[in-house]
Symmetry: C2
Subunit: 334 residues, 2 copies
């Protein structure tokens, strides 16, 4: 099964149609996994080995503006800068867009504005591809369901399939070879007190993409074999934590899941470590604060930055301890 087969399955008679509108504008939030997506069972379709669970970051994400242009190539602007066609990101986006058009077009001016650092482990590609799919749905007038959009977003970037909603989202791994049962689904849990603190230690692009790191881990880590069972356990714990608003269980499970994901990478060969010295310093600070009674946890993705998890009752204390923190209240605007 190839990506184009999946696109045909979803778009049916609308496959490779002509634009209905000249423009499409969309926003998608970035999402942070509390139970990680780590390892693919299909590298082309971005089908995961396990399910995963995330929280969307409200207004943090990507906004795209599509405009059909009378050209033979796309013109991509990212945060005010025109991207070189040869750049990795431009190539990835163009390859994705080619799934939906013929050689003769249509081509677009695509203006992307992201309020999170690109490729620094803050899921920039997740919100990027989710917003692109939303905009394409407008331009082509597909009128797809959000489930179908989630599947299309996954073809661009796995975790993008979780960025179609605010709040907690589960991505069911599914079992089908064509991935038609592998998409995001919103979980109906509101938690207004829930806070996330972004601690950006480096905005530099990561030295190794998540895609490469995942592949190396699955193929060359002796400990990866124990990861799927860990995820199964953690997903049950997280859903219990959400339904009972048990923050300790949520925090412990999320942090343990993230540490275990990084553990599978350390045991790969060559070893993969996204930690900077500052990452270690901050982790130790968090563990110290927690041992002193502060209910503070963290998660870490494929990058050096940490995302703190805490409740609003401890917001002031967290702010006092981490001067450069950016606070996100995922449910504040819902």
């Amino acid at each position: 099964v190839k990506k184009s087969d999946v696109v045909k399955l979803i778009l049916k008679n609308k496959y490779l149609g002509t634009p209905l509108k000249q423009t499409g504008v969309a926003f998608a939030p970035t999402n942070i996994a509390l139970c990680k997506y780590w390892g693919k069972r299909d590298n082309d379709l971005n089908l995961p080995v396990t399910s995963s669970l995330s929280i969307a970051l409200g207004k943090k994400g990507a906004k795209v503006n599509f405009q059909v242009i009378n050209e033979t190539h796309d013109l991509i602007t990212l945060n005010g800068e025109v991207l070189d066609v040869a750049s990795a990101f431009a190539q990835r986006l163009v390859t994705f867009l080619n799934l939906f058009r013929l050689k003769q077009g249509p081509y677009f001016s695509i203006i992307i504005e992201s309020n999170i650092p690109i490729a620094a482990g803050l899921a920039s590609s997740a919100c990027g591809f989710a917003s692109v799919v939303l905009a394409l749905n407008q331009v082509f007038g597909w009128n797809l369901t959000v489930t179908e959009l989630s599947i299309l977003a996954r073809l661009g970037s796995g975790s993008a399939c979780r960025s179609l909603w605010q709040g907690f989202v589960e991505w069911n791994a599914g079992q089908r070879a064509d991935g038609m049962d592998s998409y995001g689904q919103p979980l109906n849990f509101n938690w207004p007190d829930f806070c996330i603190g972004l601690l950006v230690m480096s905005e530099k692009e990561k030295h190794l993409s998540s895609r490469e790191a995942m592949l190396r881990t699955v193929n060359h880590s002796a400990l990866y074999s124990a990861w799927p069972a860990k995820v199964t356990t953690d997903l049950v714990k997280l859903k219990t934590a959400l339904s009972e608003k048990d923050f300790t269980l949520l925090g412990e499970t999320s942090e343990s899941n993230a540490m275990s994901m990084h553990a599978t990478m350390l045991s790969a060969w060559p070893p993969i470590s996204y930690a900077l010295p500052e990452t270690v310093m901050i982790m130790q600070k968090i563990w110290k604060l927690r041992s002193e009674g502060l209910p503070l946890y963290f998660t870490q993705d494929a990058g050096p930055n940490l995302k703190l998890l805490f409740l609003e009752a401890h917001l002031l204390q967290v702010k006092a301890e981490f001067s450069h923190i950016e606070i996100v209240k995922p449910f504040a605007h819902i």
Copy 2:
């Protein structure tokens, strides 16, 4: 099976005898595991889940001087300082010595001189208990085989059973409940070019003992289940590397084994990390140097310090890169 049962099995009619000599003096080298001992199948007898393989550090180790004294308690001096009877180390040593004597004694003045930092992940307890057992063998005139001494040393500290020899040593896990098949054995591989570089980042006592860390990992790490198979593979690779003098295979296997051990700790709850920010910095430096062509690897034990592995041909380059390194040539004096 208790420790005292094992002592009886080994000492037989010599069990709880009186001293033959008034003094005993012994040295044992510390050892660094290239394939780690991580996890016990018997917490009292220090019986391991898996076998392990180490290299002894030549003149780096502990020297003990036992002297029978006319007292009702031991007098322990460590590196020139008299130890408080209530200190953790003194209690551990006295409890061990009690296995070999009655309430009425004999008691000893024990002078320990160690030329490695204590409890900083440099296997101070390994050489400590190995040298103590060697000295006791003299004082009591047991005339035991080195295999029997290895079993007794294990009762004091698991990895001590590998500190009875110079060079490469394998500790066979064994299967018996009484551990009579679980002891060190020297491997007959000389490798005069083989160098070890000690990079001590902290001489402070570790925040969590190996014993506690191991216990928590075995009981509370989802990834530990994959560790025994990793060890089986790595032991085969290491012995191939030794017999073929394949330094790349030795280095890769040792580093991967150490990273995987730490990975099992990170996935424990609460997570266990022995890394300091400097540890991460140095790891990244090693990986960079290696990517530039220097055949340099490392291993790390339950502490922040790293032990570099390289061949004599690269000694000058390694010294130039790491100004505070201490070089050990394990085969220089054999």
